[in-house]
Each structure stands twice: as C-alpha cells, then as structure tokens.
C-alpha cells in the first residue's frame, strides 16, 4: 500500500480527551431566518466528528462560522484554547483551519499542482523581492514546498493528473484535489463539507479510505458533514445532529442512531 509519507504532522499525537474546538451557545441569523440557534458542541483532538441533519439544518452555516466566513451574533468559538474574536477566513486559515466546499471551489484555470501549491501559501515566507526574481531563497523554498506537495499527490494517488487544469477533471477527482489542497495547509482542524456528495460507490470508498488515512497517519482532527448514513456511522467517532438550526442529539454513532428525535427528524414523526 502507501509508503509512509513524510508530511510534517500538524497536531501532536492523539490525545483523545483534549478539546481542540469548542462551540458554545452559537446563534446565527440572516434577517429573520434563524440559521443556527444556541448550538453547543466540541471537537476533541484527533477524532473524526460528523455533523449531520436534514437539508437546511444549518450544517454548512456551522462550518462557515468555524471557518470565519460567517460571524455568529451570539456565542463563543474556542479553538486551541483561545476564544477568538470576530475573525476573517484567512486568519482562521493561519491558525490551522482548512476546509473543502460542498460545491467544489477550486481554481479552475490552474493545474492540479498549482492548486495544491496555493495551499502552501501560508507556509511560504520568503519576501516579495526574492520571489520577483525567482531566485536564491525563494527558489530553494519553492523546491522544498514542491517536495511536500509531491508527497501529498502520492498519498492521494493523483500523480497522473498533476499537470491537468482542474476544470477538465471529473467531479470525483476534483473533490480529491480539493482535499489535497486542504492537506497542503497541514491543518490542525480539517473541515469537510459533504466530501462524498455526488460520488459513485467506488469513489466513496476511496474517499473514506483517504479520510481515515489522513486521520490515522497525520493525526489530523476532522469535522465532516455527510448525508450518507452508512459512511457517517463507519467513519466518525462522534456525531452531532442538527435540525432547523438546533442541536437535537450528540454522541457516538450507536447512541445517535437509537435516538428517537433523530429517527423522527429523518423519517418524519408518526402521528
């Protein structure tokens, strides 16, 4: 199978009990629409945490709050022990939050390689002056980061599409390139918004394997939104369930599956 990859690990060895991210009493509304109401949950270091719920439950809004795209009107988000003030997405990124999007957001005109290299932006520090001449320190830095990116490409088995503009790739591969770009950031927390949406069975199995490998090999903490219940139950350590912006259940997959409110939310209440 895969040779051991030498990607520097973002987080420390697994410490299951340490809380990486805490969301406390967060509420978010757009005008009269209450997208999230008073939701609290936490993500422990090294776990795979699933967020599930019917359409419009506020799952993606939740990720957008964590990622800094939205600013909740109420509540606190604590990441790595620091409660953060209003923050912009690139600040969240520099603190170690990476994400993928529900509807793939790649740089379509650029090659797979360039897309993933963009993920290294925050790790590259050499000043403008050297970059302008593409020489000296900037060139050495470029080579160093290229090596890391090649490791990620090997890891996700996308060697053959290295030079292809991503706009030309099939959907399943685009999702994989997006994951590669997020991994290139060496994140402490990886947010995946429906990583398997629209995939066939084989692609789903591949993606599941990659998510588990990322979690095992790099110890990356992962929070994911997914609709495929089988996938969620197999992958995740703990599950939080949202409905109409409220949290209705939180626990291990087995606990959540047995919860009557969750069954009602998914199958409809029997009257």
């Amino acid at each position: 199978m895969n040779a051991p990859v030498k990607i520097p690990v973002g987080s420390a060895p697994l410490e299951r009990e340490e809380i990486l991210l805490a969301v406390e009493n967060v509420s978010l509304s757009f005008g009269g629409v209450k997208a999230i109401q008073d939701v609290s949950f936490d993500v422990r270091k090294g776990e795979i945490r699933a967020i599930i719920g019917p359409n419009g439950a506020g799952k993606t809004s939740m990720l957008n709050c964590i990622n800094g795209f939205y600013h909740p009107q109420q509540g606190r988000i604590t990441f790595k022990g620091r409660t953060r003030p209003r923050m912009r997405p690139h600040e969240a990124a520099s603190q170690g939050v990476a994400r993928t999007f529900q509807n793939v957001a790649l740089f379509k005109g650029m090659s797979t390689l360039d897309n993933i290299m963009v993920g290294r932006t925050l790790k590259m520090k050499e000043p403008f002056f050297w970059q302008l001449w593409r020489h000296g320190p900037a060139m050495r830095e470029e080579i160093r980061h290229r090596a890391v990116v090649e490791d990620i490409i090997d890891f996700l088995q996308i060697q053959h599409i290295r030079r292809t503009p991503v706009g030309k790739l099939p959907y399943g591969l685009q999702k994989r390139v997006e994951l590669a770009r997020a991994l290139a950031m060496e994140p402490d927390l990886l947010l995946l918004d429906e990583p398997m949406a629209g995939m066939n069975l084989e692609e789903k199995e591949d993606m599941c394997r990659f998510i588990l490998d990322v979690n095992n090999q790099f110890g990356t903490t992962i929070a994911l939104i997914e609709h495929d219940m089988g996938v969620v139950m197999d992958l995740s350590d703990r599950v939080v369930v949202l409905e109409y912006g409220r949290k209705i259940a939180d626990g291990t997959p087995a606990e959540v599956k047995a919860d009557s409110r969750v069954i009602d939310a998914y199958l409809g209440v029997a009257h």
Binding site: R88, H90, A105, L106, V118, L122, F128, L132
Partner: protein, 369 residues
C-alpha cells in the same frame, strides 16, 4: 480501401469561416498581381495605389521599411507595457481600471516634481534623481494602500460596473491632485539623470541608413525585461499563484489563507510600478504632461486584440498595434492626407474582432443554452 478513406476524408473536409477568409484574401491578391502585371490596373488607378504601390515601396526601399518597423516595435512594446497595467488589475479584481492612464502621468509628475523640490534644497544630479525615484515608488505604494482601503474594501461584492465607475472617480481625483501639487505645465523628464542614453545610432544596412534612437533601445529593453519578469512572477511564485487563485475563486482563496486585501494592494502597487516605468519612457520621448494619459486609451485596442486576462495577449497585441499603426501611417497615410495613426489602432482591433470575437488568446466562447 484507400478509395473509401479518401472519400471519407473529402466528406469530412468542410470550408470553415477561417478557410474562406484565407481563400478570399489569397484570391484577391492573385487577381491584383495578375491585373498589375498585365497592365489591366494602371499606375494611376486607386486600386494600384492602395493595394500594389505600398508593397512595391517596401520591397524597393527596405531601409525605410526597416526604420518604420523598428519604430513600430518600440511603440508596440510600450503599448504592451500599458496594457499590462490594465491586465494585472483586471486579472486579480475583475475591475477595468480607467485610472491607469492618469496613474502613468501622476507617477511621472511625482518623479519630476520630487526632483525639482530636491533641487530647491540643494540636492541635484543623479543622487537627487534616484531619491526622487524612491519617492515616486513610495507614492505609488501609498496610492495602492489608499485605493484598497477607501475604494475597493467598501465596494467589495458590488457589481463590476460600480467598481468601474469608482475608477472614473479616481481618475478625476488624480487629475485634480496632480494639477494642484505640480501645476498644469508640461515638464521635462529627467532622463539624463536617470542614466537613460541619448543620441542615435546610424546603421548602414539594406542599401540605406537606418537611424535608431538609443533611448528607444533602452525603452524596448527595459519594457521587455519588465514584461518578462511580471509574466514569470505570475506563473511560478507563491504570490503569483495567489493572484491567479484570487482571480479564479474568492472563497476558495480565502479558505487557504490568502488575504484579499493584501493581494489587491500588491496588484495595484505592481500596476503603479508599471505606470511609473511607462511614464518615464513616454515622458523621455516627449515630455511629461496631462496629455500623456490619452496614450492609455491606445491600450484599449491592444486589450481587445489580446484579451483582457492574458499577459502574452497584451504583449502580442501591443506589438501588432504598434507595428500596424506605424506601417499604416507611413505607407497608406498619404492616400488620405496622413494622420491616420490616431485611429488606425481601433480599426485594426475591429477587423480582428470580426474574425475572433474572443481576442487572440481568449478562450473560445461557447454558451450553453
């Protein structure tokens, strides 16, 4: 078997619009050549003067042709440089920056103005010129910061047309500011103090004498170097990749930690530097006045030719326009009493648009319906 494949090949062959154009032009040229050789088209007819005589002149006097070509190329490189200023900003923020022309003037005025101010406190010569160059760069950086802070940030997510109008506002602000600070009189560019060469080289080639201004050589070399550096920078470095990423998708760029504000400042500063270099070169060839901003309008046909997002397009488009208008002016201008240089560029661009609406380097426009 071979008969069948030949048939299918013939069946697959279709006259595309491009082929029709080529066939038409070739047929017309053949007709003219035959006509003039057989004497059917006399030397004093209109057709002869338009279609035969200019080419005959080019062949008979290659030294004049070389001279015209060289001047066209120099003009073309400078047009490409101006177009590059537009392309940089359009790529990263989707804004057509109407103020690019006045930025050229403002940068050049700042340079000369700072030099004069240094003269009043007793600093003169080359040292003063390079201090003034630093001042002009600093002013362009300050302008980039101000534009990002005051114009772009409050208008983020607004329709493109709003941002376009905002650059109109910026244009008139810079005109007023420039006149208030530096006055409206034309100034002389400090070319000597910046070690730009003067004088000319005479080459005895092609049976005649071709005169090449040293300043033009310097302009061509500096502009080419600048274009090359910017093109490489865009393609192969972290910031270059970030610029292209911002152009492709704002939210994805944000999610990997690219700061839009920082990128915009870099882009506007780069456009400011391009404006400064353009101002120095054009200023040294004529002088530094507000009339210089109209040369930026010459970049429009270049952009139409090359496509708004393509750096190679800006280069090739600039060269075609530069060479085309010089040769047109020299060989065809006298037919209509001269001075066609001011509008010929737009005609060339229009003719290209007829056949390639997407520009030379744009993607083919395919619309789903």
């Amino acid at each position: 078997m071979s008969d069948v494949s030949l048939k299918s090949e013939l069946a697959a062959f279709r006259m595309t619009p491009g082929l029709w154009t080529i066939a038409g032009v070739a047929g017309f040229a053949l007709l003219l050549v035959i006509g003039s050789l057989t004497g059917a088209i006399g030397k004093d007819t209109f057709a002869y003067r338009v279609f035969i005589d200019p080419f005959a002149q080019m062949v008979e006097m290659p030294d004049l042709f070389a001279q015209t070509l060289w001047e066209g190329l120099v003009g073309g490189v400078l047009y490409a440089l101006i177009a590059l200023g537009f392309v940089l900003i359009f790529k990263a923020s989707g804004v057509f920056n109407f103020a690019q022309g006045i930025m050229v003037v403002f940068a050049a005025l700042t340079l000369v103005g700072a030099y004069e101010k240094l003269g009043t406190i007793g600093i003169r010569g080359e040292a003063a010129a390079f201090i003034a160059l630093g001042v002009a760069l600093a002013v362009m950086l300050a302008l980039a910061y101000a534009v990002e802070r005051v114009v772009l940030r409050p208008l983020v997510n607004q329709p493109d047309i709003i941002l376009f109008m905002a650059t109109f506002g910026l244009t008139y602000l810079l005109i007023g500011l420039g006149e208030a600070i530096f006055g409206g009189n034309p100034k002389v560019m400090i070319a000597d103090q910046l070690y730009l060469p003067r004088g000319a080289i005479d080459l005895n080639i092609l049976g005649g004498r071709v005169t090449i201004q040293k300043l033009d050589i310097a302009a061509a070399v500096i502009a080419s170097a600048m274009i090359a550096i910017l093109a490489l920078f865009f393609q192969y470095t972290r910031i270059g990749r970030a610029l292209r990423a911002v152009a492709d998708s704002h939210k994805a760029a944000l999610s990997v930690g690219i700061s839009l504000n920082q990128i915009w400042i870099i882009v506007w500063f780069a456009a400011g530097v391009v404006a400064l270099v353009t101002g120095i070169m054009w200023g040294a060839r004529s002088d530094v006045s507000f009339g210089l901003q109209t040369i930026a309008l010459k970049a429009l046909p270049v952009l139409i030719l090359g496509g708004f997002t393509s750096i190679p397009g800006a280069i090739v488009g600039g060269l075609i326009i530069g060479v085309g208008e010089k040769i047109g002016e020299f060989y065809w201008g006298p037919l209509v009493g001269g001075a066609i240089e001011s509008w010929l560029a737009y005609i060339i661009a229009l003719i290209f648009l007829l056949f390639r609406p997407q520009g030379l380097f744009g993607d083919k426009i395919i619309e789903r319906i």
